[in-house]
């Protein structure tokens, strides 16, 4: 077997893994978009905020310590305790639910029936606010996040592929875990949306507010629930990205990569978010591997966007999105 081909397969596998992480962020977008018609630009920042909060709680960091120190001239930074990962994750989830409630209470409750562009602008504002708030609350330095997920090369895959091809694939354990967790998350979300009372209520609210009210569904409750779900997905994405490359503010930029993912997959489809993520992940890695070298490299920065652009021209609703037919 030609060496190029085997390397290509490794690149392909790694692309799939990277794609899973894109898909995780895109999933949060789809959830909120489906349930409330809001395109949540702050999804990436929510992932960052979740990761920051998780690290902060685990390390026993004092929230707003810089602010407190600056105002009162004190020198406090840490409570001096460490919270176990699982407890910290649960606490962070509580914070994300609280955030969901606040977001609904102060912003979106007041914007019912507004134009999509107004809702979109509100989420941009929310994104900036959260980024700044996260900065003030936990500090801007890059933090290491370790919740005990295994990292490093997966020995079994290395061995098996070495025996098969005479060349061991480098697949990170963390990526395997991310894939596994993403699959669980998607299956869970689909089951929840399709076969539970609250899932049905969520779809109902997305479809028709008035009808939902008339059968006894509280819109505010469903919105808080949906933002909490998006917060949960953001937390999972934050943990994965944070563990992989440290919790830093560039994390919010991955939200931008989720946009082409959504254009490929369709804004209203949960499976679409996954397939779109994988396509972009694999596509950009393979493109860089096969063609990148000839045109000076660094194609990963723009490949996803160009692919999305091509999709916008030929299939604007994405692979799985609903085609919008306006009746004249």
């Amino acid at each position: 077997m030609p060496e190029q081909f085997i390397w290509g397969m490794e690149v392909f596998a790694n692309g799939l893994m990277a794609g899973v992480l894109y898909a995780l962020v895109a999933l949060g977008f789809v959830l909120i978009y489906k349930a409330s018609g809001i395109f949540n630009f702050s999804q990436g920042v929510m992932a960052l905020f979740a990761a920051l909060t998780l690290v902060g709680i685990m390390e026993g960091q004092v929230p707003f310590s810089h602010l407190i120190n600056a105002v009162f001239g004190t020198e406090i930074h840490h409570f001096g305790w460490h919270v176990p990962a699982l407890a910290a994750i649960l606490l962070t989830m509580v914070v994300m639910v609280l955030l969901a409630w606040l977001v609904n209470y102060f912003i979106f409750r007041h914007l019912v029936n507004q134009e999509p562009i107004i809702l979109f602008m509100a989420t941009i504002g929310l994104a900036y606010f959260l980024e700044g708030f996260g900065d003030i609350m936990w500090g801007a330095d890059i933090k290491k996040l370790d919740v005990g997920l295994p990292q490093g090369i997966n020995g079994t895959i290395d061995e098996v592929t070495y025996n098969l091809f005479g060349y061991g694939f480098f697949i990170d354990n963390l990526d395997l875990w991310a894939t596994f967790i993403a699959i669980l998350l998607v299956v869970g979300l689909v089951l929840f949306a399709q076969y539970s009372k609250h899932g049905r209520a969520m779809r109902a609210v997305a479809d028709d507010h008035q009808a939902a009210l008339s059968v006894g569904i509280s819109l505010n409750f469903i919105w808080v629930m949906v933002w909490s779900l998006a917060g949960f997905v953001a937390l999972v994405a934050g943990i994965m990205w944070g563990t992989k490359s440290g919790v830093q503010f560039s994390l919010s930029l991955i939200a931008l990569k989720a946009l082409p993912v959504l254009m490929l997959g369709g804004f209203t489809s949960i499976p679409g978010a996954i397939v779109g993520g994988l396509l972009i992940g694999v596509g950009e890695k393979l493109f860089e591997f096969a063609i990148g070298g000839m045109i000076g490299g660094a194609t990963e920065n723009w490949f996803a966007y160009v692919l999305a652009l091509i999709f916008l021209v030929f299939r604007p609703q994405g692979l799985f999105g609903e085609k919008i037919i306006e009746r004249v």
Partner: protein
């Protein structure tokens, strides 16, 4: 109307109507300077089919929206099951057992007929969010139990053949029937129908009339309906409230209302001097 008393009355066809389940007392509803409903009182009794009729813009739909909590009146009281009802959100009213349909159909187009009707069962399903998320024990049993109730309603309204069809693809008449099914699924104390026959052809109207009568007969459901079509209303209902320009101009059995001069004037027009 024979033997009208506090406990009820017996209809012309021999059905026994019970005591008052909902009473509107001196309801006034304004939108800015426009008075949509002016000082209207009437009651709805258990087991009866009560109609609200009137020409266009009489305030019928506004009245229905007051009952179902979509509007809160500026003046007047709503009494439900012997208690004064505080101002409420529509979803709270729905949970108290008042189900409704809409004049221009409000269904969940993207969802199947079955799922649409299942949403009607929300009042009967109490498993918490976490139990739902984990999908175990109580939540599962509850789902099965409510599914059975829904299947019965589907049989009753003869829509078995479209159970799995997304509602958006159905023709108008069937959509109306699905909406009725969703409201019925809530096992409501009062079923509010906002022009159930609007836009239907004669056959569809006949079907719908039959279903309304059957529902009332089979489940003893109290029904309050708004309708344009005088003929249909007179055949269906036990008692009729007539509205015109936001005021009540008549209230009684179809026969009484038919011979009421104010009602005749409102419908046929009268020379103003």
């Amino acid at each position: 109307m024979k033997d009208m008393d506090a406990d009820g009355y017996t209809t012309a066809d021999g059905r026994r109507i019970g005591s008052v389940v909902m009473e509107m007392k001196n309801i006034t509803l304004r939108f800015g300077g426009v008075v949509a409903i002016k000082d209207i009182s009437f009651d709805i009794r258990e087991g009866e089919i009560r109609a609200i009729i009137g020409p266009n813009g009489a305030g019928k739909s506004s009245m229905l929206n007051v009952i179902s909590g979509f509007y809160n009146p500026q003046e007047g009281e709503v009494w439900y099951k012997g208690q004064k009802r505080p101002p409420m959100k529509p979803y709270q009213v729905a949970r108290q057992g008042i189900a409704r349909t809409f004049q221009n159909i409000a269904l969940f187009d993207g969802m199947s007929v079955l799922d649409n009707i299942m949403t009607g069962r929300i009042r009967q399903m109490n498993a918490g969010l976490l139990a739902q998320a984990i999908w175990k024990g109580k939540a599962e049993a509850e789902e099965t139990e409510n599914r059975e109730a829904v299947e019965k309603i589907i049989d009753f309204l003869e829509i078995q053949h479209i159970r799995k069809t997304p509602v958006g693809r159905l023709p108008y008449g069937l959509k109306k029937r699905v909406e009725l099914a969703r409201a019925l699924a809530a096992e409501p104390s009062i079923l509010l129908l906002d022009e159930p026959m609007a836009g239907m052809n004669v056959e569809e109207k006949e079907d719908m009339s039959r279903f309304i009568l059957d529902v009332n007969d089979e489940f003893g459901t109290t029904i309050a309906l708004i309708e344009h079509d005088m003929g249909v209303v007179m055949d269906l209902s036990d008692r009729v409230v007539v509205m015109d320009y936001g005021k009540k101009i008549g209230d009684g059995t179809p026969d009484e209302v038919r011979s009421n001069q104010a009602v005749i004037d409102a419908y046929l027009g009268v020379a103003h001097d």
